[in-house]
Amino acid sequence: MATEGRKKLAPYLLTLPGVAFLVVFFAIPMATVFSVSFQEGSLSKGFTFTGHYQNYTETLARYDTQLIRSLLVGLIVTILTLVISYPMMYWIAFRGGRRKNIYLLLILLPFFTPFLIRTLMWKTIFADEGILLGALKDIGLLPESYQVLATATAVVAGMTYNFLPFMALPLYVSLEKMDPRLLDAAADLYSSRRQAFLKVTLPLSLPGVFAGSLLTFIPAVGDPIDPELLGGVNTTMIGQVVQREMLTNNAYPRGSAISFMLMAAILIGVFLYARALGTEEMTG
């Protein structure tokens, strides 16, 4: 029957736009980049596929410091955003009352300005002789040589700031949808507030923690912009390495190989994390 057949096809037809999008903008580029990562050559001689796996070993040996640094910074940033946004979102979700949405808006408001502008403003605010440090140095609270910019601290702080909403929003969603009567029930069953938090609230918010961590960690590890703008000597992260190999050196195979190694490192990290949290929480 024609209608029968159409009914069977319907779900596939509905997914078609999404699948087509993924194929064109994700699968094909990924396959191309993967193939490039095994190529050899130069821009003017052209690149040929030779199965040159040394692209991986050589770049790993060359950039291991930057790769490890990136993973570490990503981890620190994820933990910091979690520690900062959890109490904030907890308060809004449970104590926000009718003004919840206003509080949420207030937190998100700064993020309506472009990312680049916000980060560039940091350079103005934290300039060595700028409005903040300059003033503190003038009244003798900071030594003359003190600087914030061009340090690893500035990179971590800037990224924590920029990635905060990616952690905060999933947390808020998972906390907000929690039924507050569960806490009443816990109290009825003689649990202390601390116990109620640890046994009820925290486990129920884990899907938010998980989602927020992924949304923060993954882009943070590969972010080239914050370290470029706020970092200095010896703060190079892997995103900057990829950028330089691709755009300055035109060494596409090396850049592609690093990208794939980064992806592998992140996948392993995420896999371990999912195992630790339990797969059930992963899907919420």
Partner: protein
């Protein structure tokens, strides 16, 4: 001279506009990658059997005028008044050739990435004339990507170009290129912060300036100045020399003297006082001095770099004769002065200085008097060129340099 007054008036209103050329790019450089990413994908998996043989004698696609010129240039690199480009308008008025002018070049490497594919396959590209830096000219000549020029069509160049622009090391005999504008890579510093005058490149290694020195992310600039400071002419630099230069620069970094390796943002850091002394480009410092007159620019006593952006005709271009007519046109001192009054880089036509000096407004006279736009003979005598690196050398230099700036 009415037009010149108009230009000057606009310049006086926005004195820092000219500086944005390189600036612009590198700031959007992070997203400008999009263009070259296309090049990446195009380059993928495509095998080139051989590159064009540069020994072959070029033959132009036509020896007739076509009437339209497709001209690719860098942003903010030609005079612009109230939405018009006077130099282009004047050219059309005089020759009847229309100009399709596009500001599509953001940096040498990524622009090369976009034109390399067709050129290597012997296909023409959409541009009849491009502007790229000297070392890129050398590279493209080596690959056979540029047409030979006919000097008889560019008499103004022979008559009016400054001596240092003729027969340059990167393109002997100006066979394939003539300069558009140029600039000096030297040192800028703020004497109020350094507390003394700087004269040499080694001043950037003074422990007294710990954490207050800016170096460049540009491999060619940083290495060339360092090599010069070690008494090595960049053109003759060997692998050992570059390794030695790398050692010197790593030492400087590990001693904590370098605050950061900068792209264009060095100018802001210098103005803010985050850095006291830095490698710098003359054109930027000329602009910055309007806001911060105390800033100084020097050619280090061990030598500075003269970089030259050149006009050239890509192989197989549709309108080579029109392009050469344009090259000739901008070597008319009046026209050269008109461009320089706006872009404020170093003008390849010395006679333009007198024309600008006779202008009635202060701004244009400042341009004429500045050694950063018209360098003194002493400065010129101490300027050197980048080495033309072949591909292997370039990768080696880039890798060595990466180890310094991407610690």
């Amino acid at each position: 001279m009415d037009r010149n007054r108009e230009i000057a008036r606009l310049l006086a209103e926005q004195p820092r506009r000219g500086m944005t050329r390189r600036d612009l790019l590198r700031r959007v450089g992070l997203s400008a990658g999009a263009a070259s990413l296309t090049a990446v994908l195009v380059a993928c998996g495509i095998k080139k059997e051989d590159t064009a043989d540069s020994g072959e004698k070029n033959t132009l696609t036509t020896d007739e005028e076509v009437g339209n010129l497709n001209f690719a240039n860098w942003p903010l690199y030609i005079d612009r008044v109230q939405g018009r480009r006077p130099t282009l308008d004047d050219f059309t008025k005089e020759t009847g050739i229309t100009v399709n002018y596009k500001e599509v070049i953001d940096d040498n490497e990524s622009f090369f990435g976009t034109i390399q594919e067709p050129l290597s396959g012997g296909q023409p590209i959409e541009w009849d004339m491009i502007v790229v830096t000297d070392w890129m000219i050398a590279k493209m000549v080596r690959l056979g990507y540029l047409e030979e020029l006919d000097p008889s069509l560019i008499p103004n160049f022979t008559a009016n170009a400054g001596q240092i622009y003729k027969d340059p090391s990167y393109d002997p005999g100006n066979k394939h290129s003539v300069p558009w504008q140029s600039g000096i890579t030297g040192i800028a510093y703020n004497p109020e912060l350094t507390g003394r005058d700087l004269t040499s490149f080694d001043d950037l290694f003074d422990p007294a300036f710990e954490g207050k020195v800016g170096m460049f992310k540009e491999m060619r600039d940083t290495f060339s100045l360092t090599l010069l400071s070690m008494g090595i002419e960049p053109l003759d630099a060997t692998e050992d020399d570059v390794v030695a230069a790398q050692t010197k620069l790593i030492q400087q970094r590990d001693d904590g003297i370098v605050r950061n390796y900068y792209g264009n943002e060095y100018a802001d850091a210098l103005v803010r006082g985050d850095i006291w002394a830095t490698i710098a480009w003359s054109g930027d410092v000329f602009q910055l001095q309007f806001d911060k007159p105390e800033l100084q620019f020097i050619v280090p006593d061990t030598g500075g770099i003269l970089w030259v952006d050149n006009m050239a005709i890509p192989e197989g271009a549709a309108a080579p004769i029109d392009a050469m007519k344009f090259m000739d046109f901008v070597y008319d001192p009046e026209i050269a002065a008109q461009i320089t009054a706006w872009v404020n880089y170093i003008c390849p036509v010395p006679a333009a200085q007198e024309i600008l000096a006779s202008a009635e407004d202060n701004y244009t006279r400042t341009v004429a008097e500045s050694p950063l736009v018209f360098p003194t003979p002493e400065m010129e005598a101490n300027l050197h060129s980048y080495k033309d690196l072949d591909e292997e050398e370039e990768q080696l230099w880039n890798d060595l340099f990466g180890e310094i700036i991407q610690g």
